[in-house]
Structure formats: structure tokens, C-alpha cells
């Protein structure tokens, strides 16, 4: 391992794992992410902790699940006493630098990281077209001029392909003709509809209230605007999303090419990930928020542009489950810094440097089993575990009043459930939860989730906006549940 190891964490926003040409997607052109794939190890079973910007990012910097860190939705507030990655690195001899999108609510980035660039008006959710090119300029300038003795950790939050949300907002009150009608594209230019465009409607109530019903809790105007979309319009949305992914990839290209010719080429580890996915018509949905694969399954690559750092090249790891909480322990492990107490994730460094075919990982102290499932939360009450074969999605039923401790098996009852056989049905088109022959599987999944959640340190939400959001959503959910119960 090189002394003074630098770490470059490049992240995109709203990119599902398979929207990368190196992984076989023929409708998008990502030569620069492909370059990372060729120069490193791709964790093909990587999942965000929660498929929304602020929660996913709060997990990245805290190493905690969103029911623990106070940010289980956009509008949550991170608990003050939780150390973040920037603070830990800075205290331990690193120059920790942030550039671009932050979106970790109630955590002032400038107090944890050195601020390279975050926009004149701080980047909120969107704005890739405006901010990403400037972020890249800032990174070029940094890599060209950094001359301090301390090794650096530089995280770059590209906003794209999140601008696809603007494309969706544009349809709220306006009818926009399809690209074939406009004479822009031919039918064969558009990607096909996903195999799960038609989906099993036996979903959890939470999904219906948040994303399906007449007046959804999240982005109701978009849903109303696109409710009558033709297949061509759905396909054009995905086509647009691919162009935004390519735009982000082009920025990544400039950053990599700068690193390539800088003096940091041989001692810089690169991590690439996305905060969450984009549904792109899968399960007839847009954006994220759901617990389906397209929303939670994200790219995660560790690479370098040299042969000095023991990073294997051109490896697709299809075995090990990786979670957003793994970023903190992985970065700290590479930096040679102790992980703060309570952090949930696992360092990927042993996976990278040792026998990846092993189900257990050798560390300097002991042999630990690698996780055999990954745990994801969504919309406060939603949960999923993804296993080798099955995927279990469930919801906790809200409590009408004061439901401010993130739900769990000790406080809330279980609502509806979904079970998918990912081997037989990778597109999650058939919910097996109601089939008697899967009763045992379902019970085992439930137990697995409950016992995992017992290890979490769920903390009450902070007062103010987080509680207002929960109160509002709980009201809508309880109303829906009362209809269901009748």
C-alpha cells in the first residue's frame, strides 16, 4: 500500500447499477465509468441504505442506517452527536475535502470538510447542468495545485443524472409531444420498455400512498402529469435519463484524465457509487423512493489508475452484498484510521485484497462472516432485505400519533408484505407473499429482518420538520389503512 494514500470518492445521483455500458447496457454510453470497471472491482450487489438523496448520503457520511442517524427522508435532521466521515478524517491527519452536492440535512458540510465548491446558492436536490461542470473545474484545479503534506480525501458529488427529475417536473402541467411525433427520433432509437413495466399490484400500502394513489404523498403533480403517458413517452424519459448519465460520465472522464496526468496518479484510490437508482418505468414508476431493485440497487466500484494499490482489475464481484453504510469503514480502513464506535458498515478492503470467493473474510484479528443479505429502509415505515435468492419487502403500520421513534418490531405492527424470487423473477413481477407454499420462507425473512433490526440503535426524530413530515404521512397512511381494514 502506498504511503500517504489519497482517496477520491466520485458519486452520481440517481443511477441504477445497470445503467452502465460496461455491465451490458447497450442504450447508454459510459466509457469513463467503464474505465473504472476495467481498473477495479465492481460490487454487483451494492445497495443504498435508503433510496432518497438525503438519507442515502447521510448513511454515506455516518456509516449508520437512516433510522439511526435521524435522516429517514428528505427533510430529516441528522443527530448532532454522530461523527461524520469528514470530522473523523480531519481529526486523524487527512485533508478532507468536499465538492458538489452534499444534501446531508442538519449537518453543516463546511464544519466537517474543507469546502472546495458547493455553488453560489447551495446545491439542493437538482442542478446538474449548472453545478457539475463547475465541480469538475474545482477538482481539476485542486488536483493541479494541491501541495500540502497531508493526504487528501476528496469527495465529488455530481448532481446528474438527477436532472431527469426536472424533465419529469416539466410534465406536471404541460403536455409534451413524444419524440417520434416531433420528428426527433425513430422508434428504434428509444430503449424498450422494461420487462416489469406491467407489475404485480399487490404492493405494500406505503407504496400505494406514496406513489400510486390519486393524490400521492410524494410528487403528486408529476404522477398526475404522466398518468396517461404513452409507452413512447415512458421510453423517451429513459432515453433522456441515459443522456444525463452520459453527461455525468463525461465529467468523470475529465476528472480521471486529470488524475491520470497529475502527481497523485500512483497513490490515489478511487471509489465510485451512486446514492440511489432511477425507476425509468420499471414497475411503471419514476424516480426512486420504492424498495424495488431499480430504486435501491446501485453501482459501487473501487479502482485505481495504477498498479500500486493492490486493487484487482476488471473484477465483477457478484457474491458479496454491499451497503451504503460500508463507505465509512472502507475509507477509514484504507486511511488507517479506527472506525468510530457504533458504525454499522463493513470495510470492503479485506474483500478487495483477499480471496473474494470466500464466504468469510480474514481480518488481522479474526475471521468474520460476510453478510448474507443487505438491509434497506424507505419512506420511514418501509423495509427490505435482499438475499441470495429471495427479496422480502415489508412495511410497519404507522401509529396515528407521536410515531417519532423510527418503526421497528418492538413498537409497530407489520403491515403488508412482498416476496420475490430473484432467481426466477429478477424483475420482481410476481409477489409470492400470499402463496401458502412460501409461508415458511416469508416467516424466515420476517425473523431475519426483525433480528437484524434489534441490533440497530433507532433514535427518536428531532423536533420540528422531521416530525411534521411523519405526522402528515402517518395521517394519510392511517386513513388508507382504515379503508383497507374495512
Amino acid at each position: 500500500m502506498a504511503d500517504n494514500l489519497n482517496i477520491l470518492f466520485i458519486n452520481t445521483d440517481q443511477q441504477t447499477w445497470n445503467v452502465v455500458s460496461a455491465y451490458g447496457n447497450k442504450h447508454v454510453h459510459t466509457p469513463n465509468i467503464d474505465r473504472l470497471q476495467k481498473n477495479g472491482i465492481s460490487f454487483m450487489k451494492s445497495y443504498c441504505t435508503d433510496p432518497v438523496c438525503a438519507p442515502a448520503r447521510a448513511s454515506w457520511v455516518s456509516g449508520l442506517y437512516t433510522s439511526e442517524n435521524g435522516v429517514p427522508f428528505n427533510g430529516g435532521r441528522m443527530h448532532d452527536d454522530i461523527p461524520d466521515l469528514g470530522q473523523v478524517l480531519t481529526r486523524n491527519g487527512y485533508h478532507a475535502v468536499h465538492c458538489g452536492k452534499w444534501h446531508v440535512e442538519n449537518r453543516i458540510m463546511r464544519e466537517s470538510f474543507h469546502n472546495l465548491y458547493t455553488g453560489k446558492r447551495d446545491i439542493g436536490a437538482c442542478g446538474g447542468e449548472y453545478y457539475d461542470r463547475v465541480s469538475t473545474h474545482a477538482v481539476i484545479d485542486f488536483l493541479d495545485s494541491y501541495d500540502q503534506a497531508l493526504p487528501f480525501y476528496l469527495q465529488i458529488g455530481l448532481v446528474n443524472p438527477h436532472d431527469i427529475c426536472e424533465y419529469q417536473h416539466n410534465h406536471e402541467y404541460t403536455t409534451i409531444p413524444g419524440p417520434i411525433e416531433q420528428g426527433l427520433l425513430a422508434a428504434e432509437d428509444l430503449p424498450p420498455l422494461p420487462d416489469n413495466f406491467d407489475y404485480d399490484k399487490r404492493e405494500i400500502i406505503l407504496q400505494k400512498v406514496m406513489h400510486r394513489d390519486g393524490k400521492t404523498a410524494i410528487h403528486a403533480p408529476i404522477l398526475n402529469g404522466i398518468r396517461d403517458w404513452t409507452e413512447e413517452q415512458w421510453r423517451f424519459m429513459t432515453w433522456n435519463h441515459h443522456r444525463f448519465v452520459e453527461a455525468a460520465d463525461q465529467q468523470i472522464g475529465l476528472i480521471l484524465n486529470t488524475l491520470e496526468n497529475s502527481r497523485f496518479k500512483n497513490n490515489t484510490l478511487i471509489i465510485f457509487a451512486a446514492d440511489h437508482g432511477e425507476s425509468s418505468g420499471c414497475h411503471r414508476a419514476f424516480q426512486k423512493f420504492s424498495l424495488y431493485e431499480e430504486s435501491i440497487h446501485v453501482p459501487f466500484i473501487i479502482a485505481d489508475l495504477n498498479d500500486q494499490l493492490d486493487v484487482p482489475k476488471n473484477i465483477l464481484d457478484t457474491k458479496h452484498f454491499v451497503s451504503g453504510v460500508d463507505l465509512v469503514p472502507t475509507v477509514l480502513d484504507y486511511a488507517g484510521i479506527d472506525v468510530p464506535e457504533g458504525v454499522q458498515g463493513l470495510s470492503l478492503k479485506p474483500l478487495i485484497e483477499m480471496d473474494r470467493d470466500s464466504a468469510t473474510i480474514q481480518t488481522s484479528e479474526n475471521i468474520i462472516p460476510w453478510r448474507d443479505f443487505v438491509y434497506v429502509e424507505s419512506n420511514y415505515w418501509g423495509r427490505a432485505i435482499v438475499m441470495e435468492r429471495f427479496k422480502y419487502i415489508m412495511e410497519y403500520r404507522p401509529i396515528q400519533e407521536e410515531d417519532f421513534i423510527p418503526p421497528g418490531p418492538d413498537t409497530n405492527s407489520v403491515g403488508l408484505e412482498q416476496l420475490f424470487d430473484l432467481v426466477e423473477d429478477p424483475w420482481e413481477t410476481k409477489n409470492l407473499a400470499s402463496e401458502a407454499r412460501y409461508d415458511e420462507t416469508l416467516a424466515a425473512c420476517r425473523e431475519k429482518l426483525f433480528s437484524f433490526e434489534k441490533k440497530l440503535c433507532r433514535r427518536p426524530l428531532r423536533a420540528g420538520r422531521p416530525r411534521e413530515i411523519v405526522k402528515k404521512w402517518a395521517g394519510q397512511l392511517c386513513e388508507r389503512w382504515s379503508k383497507y381494514d374495512q
Binding site: 453560489k120 461542470r133 417536473h169
Partner: protein, 267 residues
Amino acid sequence: MSKLHWSVDYTYASPLGADQSQGNFEREFTQILADSLSSSRGNFSARTKTHRYTLLPNFWGGFKKGEEPNLDIGQVLIRRSLDDGNVWRYTIEHENTTSGEELFLNFTCDDKPERSLAGSWQIRTENSADGSYSSLSLKGECNEKSGREREVSVTTASGLTIAAGTVERDETLTCNWALFDIIPLLKESGRLNRLAILDDLEILKNDCRIRPLKNWVFAGDNVQHTLSGFCVFGRGHPPIYWWLTESGEVAVMSTMLGTYVLHERSD
């Protein structure tokens, strides 16, 4: 209901459109464009031209909350002149008060309708946003790589060279800001293929195409103007919509996040 074409219409019930105290997109757009269209027309064949466009936000929300009521978040000034060697010299000054970066570009193009980039070019930035990044200077060039390809690169002031991509020999390489002259010179079909656009002289967007759109009749100050539309898109280049006046001048250019509206011109 807004009278604007959907490609430039961001009047809808976003925090911007609904709250009059924070401005109104349709009103501001219409006023700027109607004023500029009612002033004297540009001389299409002038050897020196300057256009200034106001940048209005196409954003869902969050712009200028609690700030001044007008919506504009920047501008671009496009100056170009044809020198004796039949080369167009472009100077671009772009300001975006949301990103906080000002961009100054200098480049040359040949005097053909495709406006191919000629010679080297300069990029200079100034950042007024919070953060330690303050400025950047780059020099760019396009060199032969092999018989079939040309390589684009930019070099920092300290000499660090950054590859920016390759262009096939038969692909036209131009700058996005030269499209203000390329699109008015399109042949009757209004179509162009195999265009490589070097966005802000540093991000290469290969395989771009230009396609015509149906006309839009813009009614401003009781005078109707028939604007002809075009769409530019390609690899890493989501659709951008262009609207030209009857005299072949770009009146509006609308990206996903911003609408550039003709504010003034001089020859």
C-alpha cells in the same frame, strides 16, 4: 394558461410561477423577448456581431428565494467578428449567478456553415461561490491522433494536460456557442448529423444531431412573430430547443435548466 411554447414554458405552478412576489416566468420572458424583437433587426451578413441573452431559470423551485423579484440568473454575451483570413473570432462571457461561475471563452471557427473549430482556444473561469476554488485557466487544442481520429485536450496554466476525447475525422467539431450561427445557416431540411459539440470548449459531446421543429407563433406586445424551431441532442446532450426569428436570428435557446432569451444585439 401560459401562451408560451412547452419547450420554454416554466410558468407552471412551481414556487416561481405561483408566487408573484418572486416574479413570473411568462411575464418576464415575454417582456424581454418582445422588447428585443421590436428593436431593429440584426444584420445577418455583418462581419461583427454581438448578442446578449438573459438567462432565466427552468428550475422546479428554489431559485432566488427571498431575493430580488426578477427571475434572471445570469446572461451570456456572444461577440464574433470575421477577420481578413476568413476566420470567425468568438468571445463569450457567460455568467450564472446560481452556480457562481463566470466563464470567458475565446475561440476561432472557419467561415463555413458548420463553423468548425480552428486553432487553439482559451477557457478562463472565475468562481464567486463560497469555497476554495476561485479560478481556472485552460488552453485547448485538437490534434491528429491517427489517420481516422483527432484528439481534443485542454492544458492547465501549470502544464497539466487533460484529454477531453476524440473526434472522427469526418465528424464536424464545433463549440456549443457557435450554434448561434450554425443553426441559422442550416440548409432547407433543417437537419444536421454527425456533429461533435465541444461544450464550453472542454466537454466533448459526440454524435449530435439537429432536427427541425414545428413553428411557434409568439405573441408579444400585440405583434406576432413566427419562430422556427430546432432541437439539438446527442451523446451526453439532452435535447436543447432553439427558436429563430424570421430574419434567422436566435431568439431563444432552452436547456433543461435554463432559458436564454435574446435581450439585445448590435452589429
